[in-house]
């Protein structure tokens, strides 16, 4: 039998197989579980968008597109970026259509990072930045954000982690798992630290449309001269409930995007054609759907924040994405202990905060991609569990 450990790439073998997997498997198998564990919209892709995908199939549009993606889609993305973020991108060589936001993150990191380069990753955050950085030979440098700052990245924290080897900063806001957003003034402070350096920013803005409480998302690319050093990653999954279509995009300066597109061209060829046609429809006529979904998320958000606060698990008010991140330090349990006991005793599935980095310890992630009645039932059970803990 082959010794696969000596054959396979040690960097890949060394990638943490997400300890959380085992817990997830238990939750999937168990009966009568009510889950707030999924970070994926419960809404279906709006019908007119699905229809556009179907129509493209009926018309026989079943071939590769340009490596960059359909021109019509890139033009629509350029218009969208101008309107939503007030940043101009040339659809010819500054916009790449990718297989979900994930592929754009991968291509961005691989295009920038050489072996030994440091990549700054604020945590708690989505779990892909660290392993992708390692695969590129880079060194992840974790910046722990704190509840005191509402899990925003501060200029001081950023400055304290910059070294001569720093190549890139990942800026994942609005945040999975905390729901934190960066306001204009926060971004201006970061910009001051970054200007004059050679550090690139990979701004993962996949939740940019899901903000609440009046303040709209601000892209760091729209601040000062930040556009020249920023790659914006966004996509259709969260905004239009199109997770399964696998479609995202990256926008950035032409010299960077042309290198990313080389990677994309060799690894992927082109993003799914059907999904690209559906995405054109989404950008052109999907605004009312987004507004309706955001309004619905907002009501659920208020309900779930209130629910956790009522049971004494304080959580700051998340202003973006579709997660709440309540603090469980008062219970004396670790986040994994809490989630495991909750699952076994009340059959409610939540994700332990520690799954998103060490600084997520002491917190839980609850998603509100669920109906209000589902959320109410889950909250009632969690409340009962917390009462038992208090005794």
């Amino acid at each position: 039998m082959l010794d696969y450990n000596s054959i396979l790439n040690p960097t890949v073998i060394g990638m943490k197989p997400s300890g959380i997997r085992k817990f997830f498997d238990i939750a999937e198998e168990m009966k009568d579980v009510i889950s707030l564990g999924v970070g994926e919209p419960d809404f279906q892709t709006p019908w007119h968008i699905r229809q556009a995908g179907i129509a493209s199939l009926e018309e026989g549009k079943t071939r590769y597109t340009s490596n960059w993606g359909l021109k019509e889609l890139r033009v629509a993305i350029a218009k969208y970026m101008q309107e939503q973020n007030n940043v101009k991108y040339n659809p010819n060589d500054e916009i790449l259509v990718s297989v979900g936001g994930s592929e754009a993150i991968d291509a961005a990191i691989r295009a920038i990072v050489s072996p030994g380069d440091e990549v700054l990753i604020p945590q708690p955050s989505f779990v892909c930045y660290d392993p992708i950085t390692r695969l590129a030979g880079g060194v992840p440098v974790i910046i722990s954000t704190t509840a005191e700052n509402e899990f925003r990245l501060t200029a001081e924290e950023l400055k304290a982690h910059i070294t001569p080897k720093t190549k890139a900063l990942i800026l994942p806001f609005p945040s999975n798992p905390t729901g934190a957003v960066m306001r204009r003034q926060d971004l201006c402070q970061l910009a001051k630290v970054l200007e004059g350096t050679e550090i690139m920013v990979i701004s993962d803005e996949i939740y940019s449309e899901l903000t609440y409480g009046g303040e709209k998302h601000v892209s760091i690319a729209s601040i000062g001269n930040m556009r020249e050093r920023t790659i914006i990653v966004n996509g259709f999954s969260k905004t239009y409930s199109m997770t399964g279509w696998r479609l995202g995009f990256a926008c950035g300066p032409a010299p960077v995007l042309s290198q990313m597109t080389k990677i994309h061209q060799f690894a992927i060829m082109s993003a799914p054609t059907t999904a690209q046609y559906a995405a054109i429809e989404a950008l052109k006529n999907g605004r009312p759907d987004v507004e309706a979904m955001v309004e619905e998320y907002d009501m659920r958000r208020r309900m779930i924040v209130d629910g956790f606060c009522q049971m004494g698990l304080g959580c700051f008010e998340p202003k973006g994405a579709f997660y709440v991140f309540p603090c469980i330090k008062s219970t004396g349990l670790t986040s994994e202990e809490f989630c495991e006991q909750l699952l076994y005793s009340k059959q409610v599935a939540l994700v332990p905060g520690v799954a998103f980095g060490e600084s997520g310890e002491g917190y839980l992630r609850a998603s509100y991609c669920y109906s209000v009645s589902h959320i109410k039932e889950a909250l009632a059970r969690i409340g009962e569990f917390v009462e038992i803990l208090k005794k």
Binding site: V33, G37, G39, V127, M303, V372
Partner: protein, 161 residues
């Protein structure tokens, strides 16, 4: 008039005032007052449960009756519609465009009972020109609520994204 509040109530009339208050950022008292006002104004006409009667032995039968009616000078279809709606057997009455005039939803215990109601009560009414009875065989969805399957969540239970 608060459209958000109305939308929530039409989604689920059993939300407590407190739940509604939390969801749309009002005080509980404000919610209570607004609802009371809308009830008094007749904007909110009532609250009902959507029940899957087919699960019970005492199942009900219902039918849609198309009525063609001779419109009356001055009163149009108004008088006859008002008379039709007074029967306990009648669940809904709508004035329609198209091939007939009044759409009447009738409920009863058996097909026979509904048929007899149409034959004995609706058809002989003055100015009713004809009736056409369509029995409901199965309900799939009523008032936005699916009665057929329990929708399953195909997303799995846990993910990090």
């Amino acid at each position: 008039m608060n459209l958000k509040l109305l939308k929530l109530l039409s989604d689920n009339a059993r939300y407590t005032n407190r739940e509604i208050a939390v969801m749309i950022d009002m005080s509980e008292q404000e919610v209570e007052n607004e609802i009371k006002q809308m009830e008094q104004d007749g904007l909110i006409r009532g609250y009902k449960a959507v029940i899957d009667w087919e699960r019970l032995d005492s199942a009900k039968v219902s039918a849609i009756i198309e009525l063609r009616v001779a419109p009356q000078p001055d009163a149009g279809f108004e008088d006859i519609a008002r008379k039709v709606m007074k029967y306990d057997e009648v669940e809904s009455v709508y004035l329609m465009s198209g091939g007939y005039d009044l759409c009447v939803l009738v409920k009863g215990k058996t097909f026979q009972e509904v048929a007899m109601f149409v034959a004995k009560q609706l058809a002989p009414m003055k100015f009713v020109l004809s009736t056409s009875t369509h029995f409901v065989l199965r309900r799939y969805k009523e008032l936005d609520i699916e009665l057929y399957d329990n929708a399953s969540d195909d997303r799995g239970r846990m993910s990090l994204c």
